[in-house]
Symmetry: C2
Subunit: 414 residues, 2 copies
Amino acid sequence: TVNGHRLWQSLMDLAEIGAYDDERTGLRGVNRLALTDADAAGRRQVIAWLEQAGLTVRIDRMGNIYGRREGTDPTAAPVLTGSHIDSVATAGAFDGCLGVLGGIEVVRTLDERGISTRRPIEIGVFTEEEGVRFGTDMLGSAVAAGRLSLEYAHALTDRDGRTLGGELSRTGFHGPADVRLDPPYACVECHIEQGPVLAENDVQVGVVTGVQGISWQEITIHGRAAHAGTTPTHLRADAGLAAARIGVHLRSMVDSGGYGELRATVGHLAVHPDLTNIVPARAEFTVDLRNPDDARMARAEEDLAAFLRTLEDGTPGLTLTTRRMARTAYVPFDERVQKVIARAADDHGLEHISLLSGAGHDAQEIAALCPTAMVFVRGEYDGISHNPREYSTPEACTHGVDVLATTLLRLAAQ
Amino acid sequence: TVNGHRLWQSLMDLAEIGAYDDERTGLRGVNRLALTDADAAGRRQVIAWLEQAGLTVRIDRMGNIYGRREGTDPTAAPVLTGSHIDSVATAGAFDGCLGVLGGIEVVRTLDERGISTRRPIEIGVFTEEEGVRFGTDMLGSAVAAGRLSLEYAHALTDRDGRTLGGELSRTGFHGPADVRLDPPYACVECHIEQGPVLAENDVQVGVVTGVQGISWQEITIHGRAAHAGTTPTHLRADAGLAAARIGVHLRSMVDSGGYGELRATVGHLAVHPDLTNIVPARAEFTVDLRNPDDARMARAEEDLAAFLRTLEDGTPGLTLTTRRMARTAYVPFDERVQKVIARAADDHGLEHISLLSGAGHDAQEIAALCPTAMVFVRGEYDGISHNPREYSTPEACTHGVDVLATTLLRLAAQ
Ligand SMILES: NC(=O)NCCC(=O)O
Ligand SMILES: NC(=O)NCCC(=O)O
């Protein structure tokens, strides 16, 4: 078993980088958006830990960081673990970090015990997993796996128009290593669940069977600025009202039950000119859809598109445009790796269940290259995440990394 | 009749101050929010014109500017005209400016013809009529008329937390004159209609019978930030969705017909943390209601408040707070002044109709001090306003100021 105290200490130390005092919750949150100064500081800390653990560090052209512990067989493909340390703007200490620091803790433990493995073990730290700064999630791992191109990624911009490529250079993380990853032998990522399922089932760890589909798009509505007091209702082309109708319609699609386990969120929304007595001329917002069923996801997207056309046709002066930000299908994880994880949990005497991931993860991209699965760690407070209240107990974290360690050892021995 | 060419030239000159190129319309717009540098530059230009016209200028503690042309009777109360030159962020050249520059054009014409009046004529230029920077409209005139206190006004803040009092000092418009206006003999304001009624009736000028009630409030919804992918729908407290529901509900209240001529607008809306994969923790938006009927306005406000309570009660974790920004009742204008305006229009051979104002105006505040009414000038394109497309023809502007001139002459002779 790993050193849970040391693991916890690294989690708390890393959480100080980009920390802020959250007004609403009264808690200390983390704001470490990808490739900001805070993220760069976090990366430097992680690199220092990787090097202290004796790993060989390389950085690729997407800013993905890899730390490698050699195996005894110089010809064997490595077993990959890791995750990300970028965060949303209102984050906790665990999302992503547990997978990276858990990987480091495994290596520290192996070193202490003088354990060597046949295969190398690599820890990956992927760029812009959250997708909230540059608009596409799992970006670094998607480029490493070859699903998205380096050019596409480098050209993405944040809301201030800064490109990802420019921010890589600015922060010094535009590395020399080739971005396309040579297929590892297998990949295992440890991550907090970020949902309520493990708690509801009263278990500490979960074996992840796959990741549901994710659909992100940005919708821009152009209407007509007009005076709030004088403009008769029938003459309005109210972009803000149209956005509100879409938000309400999305929830009614979810509530209808007609799209299976669909979830829908409007997380970003801005109106222009954004003044009390002016009918909004423009509204811009994001739609985040999730569905474990690809056919139902496609139908939800089509029906949303049809609703947009109806709105447009029904309101003279209103035009709607959509831009695709990110799209992944349902990704099933490898059954053999899931079995290794389940057996490791059994060996540690931990009850476990199998479950699907509601969130996207780097492992789902690596799954295109090699057999892959994930270990989930239980979260408190209904598993709330992307919120400073995000919390997993030291015990739950240790249990998850124990399972990760045993899984990595077994896979690296193969 | 006044010099329409000179009037038009002043309108175009003033519109250069705070001008911007509007991307959406391809037109040149005006952005001269109250007490910004652009507004201060506009004020200095207007003061120069007032002084060139021989008027005595005074500035009060609200930054309201008055230019006074003496009459022949030193004991007679003045006739007041004027309006405002602050604008919304996406404005045209006419809103407010026509009333100020029209007043100056009247004085220039009287001077050219060597006409003196028994009563003084004063031109008022009021601060923050739009209400979009500091949150309360008709602010300068409301303080001058005694409806709102100077302390209340000075303490109002913009979105960056700057106080109105501080901005008055910064721009040099915290004047020495007493803010409470001595009751004028009468008041007439000339303004663009900002609506479609004059065009629909194919007349150039209107006699304004009053101003409908205005209700502004800011609603803040606190929910809970949560992960868009993992958080089951029933566990969400989505502040953005609640805001959308309120926007849609407001329109259904309007469409129901149950509140008479109610108009409702959500012009400002912001969500936090405003990121794609986070259920909004907070939404803040404004509700602008208009109604010519005070009882129906009160009922609309009550029913909205009840809807807010229902939303709050129906969604665990959601709290809603409202803040009153501005509130005016229906203001009827003086019938005698309306008759003087109608007769002046007849004398100029102009067809006219009587109509209610959909927008708030400084004259409605001055109406508490003296007999008051307004002259409306027709706008093109359905009278669109608070938009760079706002446009009234040179002829329409000249006709309106001709009517203003004759009305002022008659009232100043009484
Ligand atoms: N795990 C996680 O929060 N990933 C970000 C991508 C997503 O929104 O699912
Ligand atoms: N005339 C005008 O636009 N006034 C601003 C106050 C309002 O919104 O009615």
